[in-house]
Structures are given as structure tokens and as C-alpha cells.
Amino acid sequence: MARHVVAPVAELPPGSRKFITIDDRPIAVFNVNGEFFGLMNRCPHQGAALCEGPLIGLAQSSDPGTIEYTKLGEIIRCPWHGWEFDIRTGQSYCDPRRFRVKAYAAHVEPGATVVKGPYVAETLSVSVESDYVVVDL
């Protein structure tokens, strides 16, 4: 498993996302309320750029007329057909058996740790004073 430095934390404020390609894989990294998530940017249904869709909540119902709306901002909705996936796990709520999108662990590491490696960050210059978003691949 390689660890990839994606961006300085300051570049990914809450509510933002960054699109990157690692080892030919299109990946998006999200900051949702200070938590970081990595997700394959390709919908397993028909291949659209999944992570260009909006982040919504999860609507569920135990009975007609009752709606529980949870996981606010944690469900990615595909820009084509609207398939929904949990950005924490990549799980589909319509067809979890057949469809899952690859989720990658993303977290923050201090620059002091990052410069020691082993990390891949050819396009970023890393300084010990900053914190960085790191994705495990």
C-alpha cells in the first residue's frame, strides 16, 4: 500500500473536493466538515465521473409518511443516473450486492511525518510546518 500526499490541508477547506489521478486511477478527495474521504471517481454503474455529483444526505423511511434524513453531506449522487454511494464506505444503497465504489482512506499527517516517508508526492513540495492530506492506495 502506497501513501500519496494529495494537498496541503489549507488547500482543501470543509466543503471542498480535489480531483487527482494516482497510478492512472481517477480519485476524488473530499473534506466534509473537517473529515477527509477518498473515493474512486468512476461510477460502477456506467462509468461517469461520480465525484462531480452533489453530496446529499441519506433519505430512509420505516413507513410511508416517515422520513429519516441522516448522513448529511456524506452521500455522493452520480451526475448521470443519480446512483447514491456512501463516501465513507463506497456502499450503494440501491444495490449493495452488485455495486460498490472503491473508497480510499484519507487523513491528515503533519509535514514532519510526511517528509520522512514513505510517501509519493512528486508534484508537491512538502514542508515540515504544514499539515497534509494523505490517501492510502
Partner: protein, 370 residues
């Protein structure tokens, strides 16, 4: 190496189809709304539109009765970089769809054209302008694209005149109607349209949707958009049954029609029911001389999107065997949100000949494109 992904572009998976395809349902949009059509409309209509607007058959509102699941019912990744709504930029359509998907023939199906409004003179003026606009903005700029003749659907004589005006013009390959009109499509008020299309040797495409003032279902207005989505196939069935039972195909033995964006999985079951009833009630419709299924098989083509997607691929193949591999026309519905990607729609197990027919040859043959 980490690199910034190009925003707005699709990743590499879709659009990697190698063989040329026909896309028989592309929706070109207008950048500036109805004003884009003004160059081809008399000044009288500019002012009429600004003072009175369009007055649809459908009550109380101008737009579609159900909110769509994505903005403008279109893919969120299809906004042109220069602005405007999805489908309004030829260059971006080329870059995002026509080039990467290897579209050799694209059939334009303009929507929001003035079909289904009550002022018949305005409907006819808008239809003419939309036809001119298709040539000026699309077909003259990209020879892969072919237009559909839009007509004032509720005014048979005006519609027929519009078709005759364009007959023989190579920019157009079909006449376009929508499935939901004031009356079922086989009825005589619409016959001038079929007469003129047959005379011009043009197929008639019948696209799902329409604004005839009737609910999407035969039992009233449903609550949800998902009911409208599946309701299109029900509306298409009533339109097709009407066309068969009113004798339109008996009157025009050479006329072809295309069922656009309404599915085809229901074709066998509708045909079986029609045939069974016809055997018992033939004398009610003596002008229907053959079993209804024969007219349907002989006259009807089906665009594929949204492709039927049963759990078992054999069920799909069984339906296609009934419909005919020579009657399916691949379509994406670009830029709409329920787009079908050409590399993903057909399951494995299809012969090369059938694939070629499905993706390209049937459309070329039907639309007379070499």
C-alpha cells in the same frame, strides 16, 4: 505522479467505444431560450411571446409537470465550459460525446419546440423556426448530425405544409412528434402529418413526453417523478395501439415509425393482447386487416435508451428476438441525465452482425444514410 484532474471531463472508462455508432436521440438545447429562434420568426411573434408567452394545453404551468432528477433533466457534467445549459454547445457536444463515442450519425430530437401549445399559428411559427435553427446551428456545422422536422402537432394541415416544405432536404431524416397529444395519435386529426411524411418518404419519430393536457397515466396524476418516468411506456402503448387500430399503417403500407425513449420490453405483451382481442373483435375495426402484431413488427423501430435491464440477460435477448435485431436503434439521450453509455448497454453474447445492426446499420438503413 499526483496531478490535478481536468475538471468537467469524464474519466477514461466511458467513451472508449471503438466502432462507429449512430445515436438516434440527441437533444440540442438553446443557449438563450426562445430568443435564439427570433431570427427565423416574424417580429409579430417576438412581441407576442414577450407579451403573452406560450400557452400550453397543460394547465397552470409552462414547464414539465414533474421536477426532474437533475438540472434541466441533464447530466451535471454536461454544462458547456462557455456557459449555457447542457446540450447548447455544439463544440462541447463534439468534445464530450460525438468524438469520444465515435458517433457517425446523430439524430437531433429538439424538445420545447412549441408542440403542445394552444395558439396554432404560434405553434407553427415556432416549429418553422426550430427547423431553421437546426440547420443553422447544428446540421450545417457538423455533417454527422441530422435534424428532425418539428411540426405544429395539433394542426394537421399546418404540420403537413411544414413537412412538404422540407421534403427532400438532406438536413432532415424524420418527422418528430411526441407521444402525448390532445388525442391518441392514430386519430384522424393527425392523418395529414402521416400523409405528408409518407409522401416525403420520411419516418415519423414519436418521442416520449408531450403536453396534450392529459395526465401521464390513464388513471390520473401520480405523486412522483418516478411514476412519470415509467408512465412514458404506458403513454407510448396507447399511442401505438391507436395508430394500429385507426388503420394508419393500413393506409400507409410503407410508413415507418420510431418509438423514441419509451422502451421496447412491452412490445410483445401489447402485441399479444392486441392480437387476442382482434381475433374476437375484428368486425369492430374491419379496416385493420392483419393481426395488430404484424403492423407493429413491420412498421415500428425502437430506440434503445433507456435500455431494458432485466436481471437475466436471456430475458433481454428473448424480447429482442421478438422485436427484431433489425428494428433497434441505439440512442444515448445526450445530454439528458438518463444517458446510456454506448460501451455499457449490451451484455456479452451478441453476435458481431447483431451488434453492428444495433449500433449503426439499422439507423443508416432506416434514415437513408450511406
Amino acid at each position: 505522479m499526483n496531478m490535478q484532474f481536468r475538471p468537467g471531463a469524464a474519466p477514461d472508462a466511458p467513451g472508449s467505444i471503438k466502432t462507429a455508432i449512430a445515436d438516434c436521440d440527441i437533444h440540442p438545447a438553446r443557449k438563450g431560450g426562445l430568443k435564439d429562434l427570433y431570427p427565423w420568426m416574424a417580429k409579430r411573434w417576438h412581441e407576442h411571446l414577450e407579451i403573452y408567452g406560450k400557452h400550453p394545453y397543460q394547465g397552470m404551468m409552462e414547464g414539465p409537470p414533474y421536477p426532474k432528477a437533475q438540472p434541466n433533466a441533464s447530466r451535471r457534467d454536461a454544462y458547456p465550459p462557455e456557459g449555457g445549459q447542457q446540450g447548447s454547445s455544439l463544440s462541447f457536444m463534439q468534445q464530450q460525446h460525438l468524438d469520444p463515442n465515435n458517433v457517425a450519425l446523430g439524430i437531433l430530437c429538439p424538445l420545447q419546440t412549441g408542440q403542445g401549445i394552444r395558439n396554432q399559428d404560434l405553434s407553427a411559427a415556432l416549429a418553422t423556426a426550430v427547423n431553421e435553427w437546426q440547420i443553422a446551428e447544428w446540421t450545417s456545422k457538423d455533417s454527422r448530425l441530422k435534424g428532425s422536422i418539428v411540426v405544429a402537432n395539433e394542426d394537421g394541415p399546418a404540420a403537413a405544409a411544414e413537412i412538404r416544405k422540407w421534403a427532400g432536404n438532406k438536413n432532415f431524416v424524420q418527422v418528430l412528434l411526441l407521444s402525448r397529444n390532445v388525442e391518441p395519435l392514430g386519430q384522424r386529426r393527425y392523418w395529414p402529418i402521416y400523409d405528408a411524411a409518407a409522401e416525403a418518404g420520411l419516418p415519423v419519430g414519436i418521442h416520449a413526453f408531450g403536453f396534450g393536457g392529459n395526465p401521464i397515466t390513464a388513471s390520473g396524476w401520480p405523486s412522483y417523478y418516478i411514476e412519470e418516468m415509467v408512465g412514458h411506456s404506458q403513454c407510448q402503448q396507447t399511442a401505438l395501439a391507436s395508430l394500429v387500430l385507426e388503420g394508419v399503417f393500413e393506409r400507409h403500407p410503407g410508413l415507418k415509425m420510431v418509438m423514441i425513449e419509451a422502451g421496447f420490453g412491452w412490445a410483445p405483451s401489447l402485441s399479444w393482447r392486441l392480437d387476442k382481442s382482434w381475433e374476437r373483435m375484428r368486425s369492430e375495426v374491419p379496416h385493420v386487416k392483419r393481426p395488430p402484431s404484424e403492423y407493429i413488427r413491420d412498421h415500428i423501430y425502437w430506440t434503445t435508451q433507456p435500455m431494458e435491464d432485466p436481471e437475466s440477460r436471456q430475458h433481454l435477448f428473448d424480447v429482442i428476438d421478438w422485436v427484431g435485431w433489425d428494428k433497434l436503434l441505439f440512442a444515448t439521450d445526450y445530454p439528458h441525465w438518463d444517458f446510456d453509455d454506448p460501451s455499457r448497454v449490451l451484455p456479452p453474447g451478441v453476435s458481431d452482425g447483431n451488434r453492428q445492426a444495433f449500433y449503426l446499420d439499422n439507423a443508416r438503413k432506416l434514415y437513408g444514410i450511406a
